[in-house]
């Protein structure tokens, strides 16, 4: 996304109308552009007025519940990035992903990025300047791939997939006209599946196929999902 593109998004940003991935792009941009930060601040004050105009007296029980809650919640010190209590980053990421996958891969990855407090390979990939999101197609479920050629990495995220047949697993592939290379296995279980893989090489697609446990040297069945990588 160019700066002009990002700048045109300030209105949608202030309205909370961006995918989380675009939200990240705007936030990254305004961190470096004072003029844009000023505009965003004013537009957020403006949308807040829309919010104030919707004010409705809450049910009477709310106050006592909130006051009881805060008695048990420790306050965050100044200047810390926001984190969610009691969750390990990975557990959190997976639950967040499970909650929002299917909206758009962009939303998933953006949410992950926003809620990832520390730098790790996944968030580094999310921060890559050339990172882009690709939606998958196929009969096997829904999925997205975040790809950065600069980092030579992809992150595959899939959900709504049926359990593989007994004795089988889902295997991810880097696919090129010259053949396929394994990009790792999708974890078991009903939750959203995440695979981070390095080594895009000459791959033009990422695919997922059903393989016998232990995996295959190359795909032995048709891909259940395919992602076309940017050229």
């Amino acid at each position: 996304m160019t700066n002009a593109d990002v700048h045109a998004l300030t209105g949608a940003y202030a309205l909370g109308a961006l995918s989380e991935f675009e939200t990240v792009a705007v936030e990254r941009h305004i961190a470096e552009c004072t003029q844009c930060a000023d505009e965003v601040r004013e537009l957020l004050e403006t949308t807040s007025r829309l919010g104030l105009a919707a004010a409705v007296e809450p049910p009477p029980g709310l106050k006592s519940r909130v006051l009881a809650d805060i008695g048990e919640v420790r306050q965050q010190p100044p200047g810390r990035p926001r984190t969610v209590r009691g969750s390990s980053p990975w557990a959190l990421r997976l639950s967040v992903a499970a909650a929002v996958v299917g909206i758009a891969g962009a939303a998933v990855f953006g949410t992950l990025w926003l809620r990832t407090p520390t730098e790790d390979p996944a968030s580094a990939l999310l921060r890559a300047a050339d990172a882009s999101v690709i939606q998958g197609h196929g009969k096997g479920g829904t999925g997205s791939v975040l790809v950065s050629k600069d980092r030579n990495q992809v992150m595959v995220l899939a959900s709504d997939m049926a359990a593989p047949p007994p004795g089988h697993v889902y295997q991810a592939w880097f696919m090129s006209p010259n053949g396929a290379r394994s990009a790792g296995f999708l974890p078991d279980g009903p939750a959203t599946k995440v695979v981070l893989a390095t080594g895009i090489g000459d791959a033009t697609q990422v695919g997922i196929s059903v393989e016998p446990i232990g995996g295959s040297e190359e795909p032995t069945t048709d891909a259940v999902m395919v992602f076309d990588l940017p050229t």
């Binding site: 045109a8 998004l9 537009l43």
Partner: protein, 196 residues
């Protein structure tokens, strides 16, 4: 009109001075200050959640989460990045919209968007009960926008739609909706006399 708008803005519940001040005190762990802050922000937080989510029980849950979050994160509020009220309302909006989008993904999304399409955004303006002068002002300023500006803004803000959804619902091009959201908000900002 602009001058009147400014005069009206001074009466906004918790214009920046008092809410900012209260929040700074809350940041030091003052529960009594939080109670005062609650009295100012609870109705806007609950009302916005309810406008977006419709369901009263869910709205109350979201409001409770947001209000506790205000307590927890009070010390991270940075006045250089806007008013305390705007900080609170932005948080409330995010939470409510997160909830809407998570549900949309759980249900059949296309069907939901289609169903909500019937509910036209013009209703939103009528729903702004003009019991307070500043709400009347918001309503009047909204009526100064073009239809596309107004509908784009209201569908996004009060319904939690992404701009791509909005473009779809209004049968408009994506870049057009993006632009109308921005120039519509700028016009609204000037009409309301928002200076920061």
């Amino acid at each position: 009109m602009r001058e009147r708008a400014r005069a009206g803005a001074a009466g906004v519940p918790g214009a920046r001075s008092d809410v900012d001040e209260l929040l700074r005190t809350v940041a030091k762990g003052d529960e009594r200050a939080f109670e005062q802050l609650y009295d100012v922000i609870a109705a806007p937080v609950y009302g916005l959640a309810k406008r977006i989510l419709r369901n009263p029980a869910q709205s109350e849950e979201v409001a409770q989460e947001v209000l506790v979050e205000v307590w927890r994160r009070a010390a991270t509020f940075d006045p250089a990045r806007g008013s305390a009220m705007s900080w609170v309302m932005t948080m409330a909006h995010h939470r409510a919209v997160d909830r809407v989008r998570a549900e949309q993904s759980a249900a059949n999304r296309d069907e939901k968007v289609a169903r909500r399409d019937v509910d036209r955004p013009f209703d939103e303006v009528a729903e702004l009960v003009a019991t307070r002068i500043e709400h009347e002002q918001v309503r009047r300023c909204l009526s100064n926008l073009t239809d596309l500006q107004r509908e784009s803004i209201l569908l996004a803000y009060y319904r939690g739609h992404t701009y791509a959804d909005v473009a779809n619902l209004l049968d408009a091009a994506l870049p057009t909706v993006k632009t109308r959201m921005r120039d519509g908000l700028i016009r609204l900002r000037d009409c309301l006399g928002v200076t920061r």
